[in-house]
């Protein structure tokens, strides 16, 4: 069961990476492609920037580059905000593919978060004289 949770955690993290990378590609494409209604706009540039940050943050999670727990928690929270914010921006930009990728990224984030491997429980030591 612990092994399954770990796999789900890694799948979630890597799903987040893949969706973020794809989101970055799509957002760059949207920004530079004339005739799509949002090319060159501030909004399209904004999602390029947030996608870059998402990619960077999701890679740190996937490669477990951060050891400190509080930093991991903070990155997880920022990832959540980044995915939701980029998704909302994509909705407002009517960038449907990017929106779909952010949905995938959010599912990955959920999987990663909900399937965090539990700490290994060691057997409690019996106290002498206790029956």
């Amino acid at each position: 069961m612990h092994a399954d949770t770990g796999v789900l955690n890694r799948v979630g993290a890597w799903g987040l990476v893949v969706a973020s990378l794809a989101g970055l590609a799509v957002s760059v494409f949207d920004y530079v492609t004339p005739g799509n209604g949002i090319a060159g706009s501030f909004g399209a540039l904004l999602v390029v920037v947030t996608s870059v940050l998402l990619v960077a943050a999701s890679l740190t999670v996937a490669f477990a580059l951060v050891g400190r727990r509080w930093v991991r928690v903070m990155i997880d929270m920022l990832l959540c905000l980044g995915v939701l914010g980029t998704g909302f921006a994509a909705y407002m930009l009517e960038a449907d593919v990017l929106l779909a990728l952010m949905v995938v990224a959010f599912v990955g984030w959920l999987a990663h978060l909900c399937a965090v491997p539990r700490a290994v429980h060691r057997p409690a030591k019996l106290q002498p004289g206790v029956a």
């Binding site: 209604g37 501030f42 909004g43």
Partner: protein, 632 residues
């Protein structure tokens, strides 16, 4: 028994009829509004509400004539209706060139360059609303200029070129150019810009013009010139201003399109407001033909009837769209009617032979001016049927904009004069709704003459109108004129105007900012009214319920579709005429601020848009000409 020659005649008639039927005899789109009645109605039925979802780009081309204003050339505003006539698409561009295109491919047949000056002599941008077309009733084969395309320019020249070859028609004006400015003899402070294509009826061109608004109290008076279509020789002139006041005021011109009732030989003209636009102390005389709709005898220019829509105009409520001519069946009677849309949001429904209202229209008391020297009209005509496109009261403060501006919107609304419709400009500033941007702009509405359905797009814009005493105005502008300040030279006040927005540019008033409405002309009842288009800011699309400010106009097809660009979001749309539901959307390069053309060529129906943009909506310009059709 039939004689042989009778049989031959019958056979020839049959063959001719068959050939006629095979050719399709499809409707041409030969004027700015499709036809002379300005109905913007197409009899084509190939594209329907059921199949319009599969509409696709048939062809597109770019004229190359565009400017965003960042360089030496002023920004371009391209609002041309593509004409379909003589088996050709004709386009005029804001660089004052004419293109003749293949209707099924967009391939250029020929182009003509007027080499006109590219300076914004009167308007803030290089503008055109396209070309006009004339052809002789009897075509002489081999003779040039039996069919002519006309293009007006910012510097008041009217060019005539052969519709088949693109060569100048030497017999028109001087070597194919008519100098309209030769008739600019009173208060000639700027040229009479011919930005709206002339109206063509029989062998006459009716030429209106545009000037430089808000700058001068004494301005050129708004003559209309009727000239010979072949030669440019002047036939008659109409002036909305009496001769004794023409020097002390001005404009009251016709800068929008006109319409013609060929059965009754009547020319209908929408006359704009006199100068200066926001103070009338220099023009207190009764001027019944200004801010009015006027019917003229097309042969003589004599006034047959007139109806003033705004008395003593202080709001720049120019009558700004061609009257739409349609017969209305009301209470079992067929009435020859005229529909006049307006910036103020009223739709005036008049008997086009008499000018009398078909639905009740009252003179209602309106707020009075508190500005020294001004005397506002005590009443204004207000038709309540059909329901106005804009409400009587302004839409109120937007909570979102108010919060975002830390209460600026509500504070400002309390500080301004707000007395409802026709609140006059004031020294402390008046909240004006609807403002000069409309209501309904120059595109006007479209009508389905068979069902008696009228459709019109309308904007909801709130502006601040403020008069400034001359010394105060001079002090504010001594180091250059900031945006929003206009001199109104010649009267004791300068003028300041601004959209009522907060520091983020958010409108301080509640949405929707634009709507599309449908009316039953038999009763005047509103059938439906929906927010139309989308507002886009920084690329983000705002909620559909907000709608969009619009410039441009709808077209109705016999198959039950509304086809329209006009919105800020650079989209063109097809809607169900019955419900107003959007059935199809196409993305284009800029706002399509024009009247689309619907035509059938070689059995295929096309919907064509000139996509030019308009800096009033947003700083996005294009030179795209795009045509849609069903897949082959």
């Amino acid at each position: 028994m039939m004689r042989p020659c009778a049989v031959l005649a019958a056979v020839l008639l049959f063959v001719a009829h068959a050939a006629f039927a095979q050719s399709g005899q499809h409707q041409t789109w030969y004027t700015f509004n499709g036809d002379l009645a300005a109905q913007k109605y197409s009899t084509e039925t190939q594209i329907t509400p059921d199949n319009v979802a599969s509409l696709t780009v048939a062809w597109q081309m770019h004229t190359g004539d565009l400017s965003d204003g960042s360089g030496k050339i002023p920004a371009s505003v391209w609002s041309a209706t593509p004409l379909f006539v003589n088996d050709t698409i004709y386009l005029g561009t804001p660089f004052y060139r004419i293109f003749a295109l293949e209707p099924d491919t967009g391939k250029v047949k020929w182009s003509f360059d007027s080499h006109s000056t590219l300076k914004a002599l009167t308007q803030p941008a290089l503008k055109t609303r396209g070309v006009a077309y004339w052809q002789a009733s009897q075509i002489t084969v081999g003779e040039p200029c039996q069919k002519i395309v006309y293009l007006g320019t910012m510097d008041a020249q009217l060019f005539a070129v052969d519709a088949d070859t693109g060569r100048a028609c030497a017999g028109f004006g001087k070597n194919g150019v008519l100098n309209v400015n030769q008739w600019n003899t009173i208060n000639a402070k700027w040229p009479l810009s011919v930005l709206q294509p002339p109206t063509v009826y029989k062998d006459t061109l009716f030429i209106g013009w545009a000037g430089k608004d808000w700058a001068e109290a004494q301005a050129p008076p708004g003559d209309i010139f009727a000239v010979d279509a072949r030669t440019g020789a002047l036939k008659w002139t109409f002036n909305a201003l009496p001769a004794n006041i023409a020097k002390t005021t001005g404009t009251s011109n016709v800068w929008a399109s006109m319409s013609v009732d060929a059965d009754h030989n009547l020319l209908f003209i929408p006359v704009s407001s006199p100068s200066p636009n926001f103070y009338g102390g220099n023009r207190k005389e009764a001027l019944p033909l200004v801010t009015a709709v006027v019917a003229l005898n097309a042969d003589t220019g004599a006034v047959v009837w007139s109806r003033q829509l705004v008395h003593h105009d202080l709001w720049d409520y120019d009558t700004n769209a061609a009257p739409v001519l349609v017969d209305i069946v009301k209470d079992g009677q067929t009435i020859p009617a005229l529909l006049q849309s307006s910036k103020q949001g009223f739709i005036y429904v008049l008997n086009r032979l008499t000018g009398e209202p078909i639905f009740p229209m009252d003179e209602k008391p309106v707020p009075q001016s508190d500005v020294a020297g001004e005397q506002a009209s005590p009443t204004q005509p207000e038709p309540m049927t059909p329901e106005p496109t804009t409400s009587a009261e302004w839409p109120g403060v937007s909570t979102l904009a108010d919060i975002a501006s830390f209460g600026y919107c509500s504070r400002e609304a309390k500080a301004l004069r707000v007395d409802g419709r026709f609140t006059p400009p004031s020294l402390r500033g008046s909240l004006t709704y609807p403002a000069t941007a409309g209501g309904v702009e120059w595109g006007g509405g479209a009508v389905d003459p068979t069902s008696g359905t009228y459709v019109v797009n309308s904007s909801s814009v709130v502006q601040i109108y403020q008069l400034l005493k001359r010394e105060e105005y001079d002090a504010k502008t001594k180091n250059g004129t900031p945006n929003g300040y206009f001199p109104m030279n010649g009267v004791p006040y300068g003028y300041y105007q601004a959209n009522f927005v907060n520091w983020l540019g958010m409108p301080c008033w509640n949405p929707p900012y634009g709507t599309l409405s449908s009316y039953d002309l038999k009763t005047g009842a509103l059938l439906w009214k929906e927010p139309f288009g989308e507002v886009q800011k920084w690329g983000f699309y705002m909620p559909l319920s907000w709608g969009s400010v619009t410039i441009g106009a709808p077209v109705i097809t016999k198959s039950g579709l509304i086809l329209i660009g006009a919105s800020m979001d650079s989209r063109v749309r097809a809607l169900d005429l019955k419900t107003g539901k959007v059935l199809w959307t196409g993305l284009v390069d800029a706002p399509a601020v024009s009247v689309p053309a619907v035509y059938n060529y070689k059995g295929r129906e096309y919907v064509a848009f000139a996509v030019g943009g308009n800096s009033i909506l947003e700083p996005k310009v294009s030179d795209q000409m795009i045509a849609y059709a069903l897949p082959k």
